[in-house]
């Protein structure tokens, strides 16, 4: 399957998902349980998938008219300085995320929020730190 076909399938799947969400929203008068959330989930995912697919199709059309633009975009994407800057920014964002998550955990604890919610947040925090330690070890061995 070609890349263009995949993009069209993705865009159509997004539209179908969005329509399914709308239909579910109208069809079910008194939703219960998972059906309360499902229509909105379908609409959200549908919009996201359609947006991604349509964006790729539009970009490909622009590139087809101007091959020089495609080459330039590829250079920009693979440019080592751009990659280094993006990685630096991600590292800063990760550092700040740990502080933000820590602050949110303290705030939730002070607000007497449900223990399950706080534990979920602590779990997410530890998972992120775990992923960091995993990749730190992996790259230490590889490089």
């Amino acid at each position: 399957m070609s890349r263009a076909t995949k993009q069209y399938i993705l865009a159509i799947a997004g539209i179908l998902c969005f329509i399914t969400g709308l239909v579910l929203l109208k069809a079910i008068a008194e939703p219960k349980g998972v059906l309360q959330v499902l229509p909105y989930l379908c609409i959200g995912i549908g919009c996201g998938v359609f947006g991604h697919g349509a964006g790729e199709i539009a970009a490909n059309r622009a590139y087809a008219k101007n091959p020089q633009l495609r080459k330039q975009m590829e250079i920009e994407k693979q440019d080592e300085r751009n990659i280094a800057i993006a990685n630096q920014a991600k590292a800063k964002a990760y550092d700040s995320m740990l502080y933000v998550l820590g602050a949110v955990m303290i705030a939730f604890a002070l607000m007497n929020v449900q223990t399950t919610t706080i534990l979920l947040l602590v779990g997410a925090y530890l998972l992120v730190v775990g992923v960091f330690i995993f990749y730190l070890n992996k790259y230490q061995k590889e490089q």
């Binding site: 250079i75 920009e76 693979q78 440019d79 080592e80 300085r81 751009n82 280094a84």
Partner: protein
């Protein structure tokens, strides 16, 4: 780390855009290299040196004091 990129490029009579296209990097990378704001990877340094038919140490000047 200082370098002679701007001087060498001008001596060849090429624009930043042209050098960027030859080295397959962005024009901004060439600008940053020339200003000394960005130090290239060893691969890019080799690529630059090869393009100018020079050794790396003839293009990039290592200064111990700057470390």
């Amino acid at each position: 780390m200082k370098n002679r990129l701007e001087e060498l490029r001008k001596a060849r009579g090429i624009k930043q855009e042209e050098l960027a296209a030859i080295l397959e990097v962005s024009r901004q990378t060439i600008g940053s290299l020339e200003n000394g704001r960005y130090n290239p990877s060893i691969l890019l340094a080799f690529k630059i040196a090869r393009y100018f038919d020079m050794n790396i140490e003839d293009v990039f000047i290592y200064e111990e004091d700057a470390q």
